[in-house]
């Protein structure tokens, strides 16, 4: 029995040697959301020349959730997006996509290919290409050079682009140069490009800036319909808009999460009223 105890001591699960532990390689490419959250940000800090843009930020986004992030200018919203998409590396902390993909070790294209799409604050489309070509390039296919030298679209892919053009209301202007679109249409085109990319997680930075009332409503509808199949994180200033779409709102302040909850909870939160809503 004594021998057996000794053996058990060696085999204790919580004390295995590193090489015994069968850890999944980082960025195995498989997104694992068994535990609920699709995005983990833990203790993330970023500073620029001494200014702490993010300060011990902890944020969890659940799979299929639609989350709104609000905060004053300089609260770290865009920096947070930059950290998730690999544009900025955190000084401290971990950023995981699902259980297994360490985003701090991947390059921007790798992160995009692993299933994270991002819409910029300023609508960013390929101005000299047509609407159709913009959507084509966003499509989820092999992004390497040699594959693209000879690639042609299949009928299915064309239909797919057609569907997205219908969704974003640009079907009639498929051959229009993207640079010639209105501001709101560019916003929609960029959202359409995100749809083509078919990511699991969408990061949307100020989607309704410069849109008419009707367009804002349509955008709200679109984003709500995306939640469930995709996870959506929206950064927005327009409180009306946030109220119309969000179930959960996170308030950032000085690079830190100040409050989290439903819109009503957040608006009634004393701290939030002080620093952000100013009421």
């Amino acid at each position: 029995m004594n021998q057996l105890d000794k053996l058990r001591e060696v085999m204790r699960r919580d004390r295995v040697f590193d090489f015994v532990a069968t850890r999944e390689p980082v960025a195995s490419g498989r997104l694992d959301t068994r535990h609920g959250p699709i995005l983990y940000l833990e203790g993330v800090s970023v500073s620029f020349d001494g200014f702490k843009a993010l300060n011990d930020l902890n944020l969890y986004i659940n799979d299929g959730e639609l989350r709104c992030i609000i905060g004053a200018n300089g609260a770290g919203k865009t920096t947070m997006m930059d950290v998730i998409t690999g544009k900025t590396r955190p000084d401290e902390g971990t950023v995981f996509f699902g259980q297994s993909i360490d985003l701090t070790r991947l390059s921007e294209p790798e992160i995009a290919q692993s299933g994270i799409g991002r819409k910029f604050q300023k609508p960013t489309v390929f101005e000299e290409l047509s609407v159709f070509e913009n959507l084509e390039l966003a499509m989820d296919f092999d992004k390497r050079i040699w594959a693209n030298l000879t690639a042609t679209l299949t009928g299915e892919q064309r239909d797919n682009i057609g569907e997205v053009m219908t969704t974003i209301g640009l079907l009639d202007s498929y051959n229009v140069r993207a640079g010639g679109l209105s501001h709101g249409q560019k916003q929609w085109l960029e959202i359409g490009m995100l749809l083509m990319q078919n990511p699991r997680l969408l990061l949307v930075d100020e989607p309704v800036a410069g849109m008419t009332h009707q367009e804002v409503e349509n955008t709200a509808e679109l984003l709500t319909s995306l939640a469930g199949k995709h996870s959506v994180v929206v950064v927005e200033h327009d409180m009306e808009f946030v109220r119309s779409i969000a179930s959960t709102v996170t308030v950032l302040h000085e690079g830190h999460v100040l409050a989290e909850g439903s819109m009503d909870d957040v608006q009634n939160n004393e701290q939030v009223r002080q620093v952000y809503l100013g009421a």
Binding site: F120, T124, E128
Partner: protein, 375 residues
């Protein structure tokens, strides 16, 4: 059958290019006929001097295409593209030099004259193999390509863009010029490589050789155009344009922006090298002056003049500017640089899209845009 329909649709998409190729083909047929068959006394006779001049223009046109690919399509303003042209030229020059054999002034069967003059006793290692034409042809493409690859890899990986990249490309060509000026480099120093005798056994002084060189240049230009056109028409070509318009957007869509830039830059350098190799046997000399920063800047003017972002625009620009250069430097030698400066100012201020842009504006004013139908 399928191939034919492919070619047909290709020409429908690219009318300007179709016209350019047709004109090029016509010139390539007519010029030799008027040179060889029409007697000297006839006013229609095309002198061999003109044939060589045209061949020179065509090699410049190929160089302009190569710059247009990186500048017009990928947005990388290279101010050192003449360096790749000159490297290709030097590789060809080395072959031609070895072909001289013992017919040099000093009659040394192995060493070119300038090496004998410098009291060198044997051929440096990097001159080995250049007695073989195939080796020289490989080097014409390999040397500019490898240099562009290394340079681009370092620059693009560090995300050097815009004016900074332009400045370091300028520095690259300037550094190469200084290096090639040195006699110790073993490339003929100040005088460069010249006094070539023959190529593949044919005398460079013969009219027929000149015509052949002209034709080879025309074919190379046509092929270079068609291949480049296929690249920019492919999806990879659209990615390159996308990188120019919104680099970060392309990156966040999952494209490795650096690889695309590196690849188009290297391809372009190879094209420039080929242009240089065609240029040297026609003008009969290559010297470090070809690396001079002014050449690269002139090249940018050609492309801007013709219309960047349009391949045949670069060709039009190259031929037009060089024709006026030939004319001005003959008629008013002092005025050329002023004329060049004035051209550049006029183009940037009044014709941001060059001559091709002007033609398109005139055309679209004439007719209403056709009705578009969704796919």
């Amino acid at each position: 059958m399928e191939k034919k329909s492919f070619l047909l649709s290709y020409y429908e998409k690219d009318k300007g290019g179709g016209i350019f190729l047709a004109v090029l083909m016509a010139v390539a047929i007519i010029v030799p006929i008027f040179n060889l068959l029409v007697p000297d006394s006839s006013p229609f006779h095309v002198s061999t001097y003109t044939v060589t001049l045209l061949g020179k223009y065509l090699s410049f046109a190929l160089l302009a295409i190569s710059l247009d690919l990186v500048w017009g399509y990928c947005g990388i303003l290279s101010l050192g593209h003449a360096a790749f042209f000159a490297l290709g030229g030097y590789a060809m020059g080395m072959y031609l030099m070895r072909q001289v054999g013992d017919r040099g002034v000093y009659g040394n069967p192995d060493l070119p004259d300038f090496m004998v003059f410098l009291n060198w006793t044997e051929l440096p290692w990097y001159w080995q193999g250049f007695d073989q034409f195939w080796f020289a042809v490989i080097m014409v493409m390999l040397v500019p390509g490898v240099l562009a690859y290394i340079f681009g890899w370092l620059a693009f990986r560090s995300r050097v863009t815009g004016v900074y990249l332009s400045i370091i490309t300028q520095a690259l060509t300037y550094a190469l010029m200084l290096a090639f000026f040195r006699n110790e480099m073993g490339f003929g120093g100040n005088n460069g490589l010249t006094d070539f005798k023959d190529i593949l056994g044919y005398s460079l002084q013969e009219d027929s050789t000149r015509i052949a060189l002209f034709l080879v240049t025309a074919v190379a230009l046509a092929l270079g155009y068609i291949i480049s056109r296929m690249i920019v028409n492919s999806r990879a070509g659209r990615v390159v344009v996308a990188v120019r318009d919104a680099e970060s957007r392309a990156r966040f869509l999952g494209y490795r922006v650096e690889s695309y830039k590196l690849w188009i830059f290297t391809y372009s350098a190879v094209l420039a090298g080929i242009a240089g190799a065609l240029y040297v046997p026609q003008v009969g000399i290559i010297n470090p002056g070809e690396f001079s920063p002014l050449n690269s800047i002139e090249l940018v003017v050609w492309v801007a003049m013709g219309g960047r972002g349009v391949l045949y625009g670069a060709v039009i620009g190259a031929i037009l500017v060089n024709y006026s250069k030939t004319y001005f430097t003959g008629a008013f030698p002092e005025a050329w640089l002023f004329a060049l400066g004035a051209l550049f100012v006029i183009v940037t201020v009044f014709l941001p899209k060059g001559i091709v842009g002007l033609l398109n504006t005139i055309k679209s004013r004439k007719k209403q845009p056709a009705e578009e139908t969704p796919p």
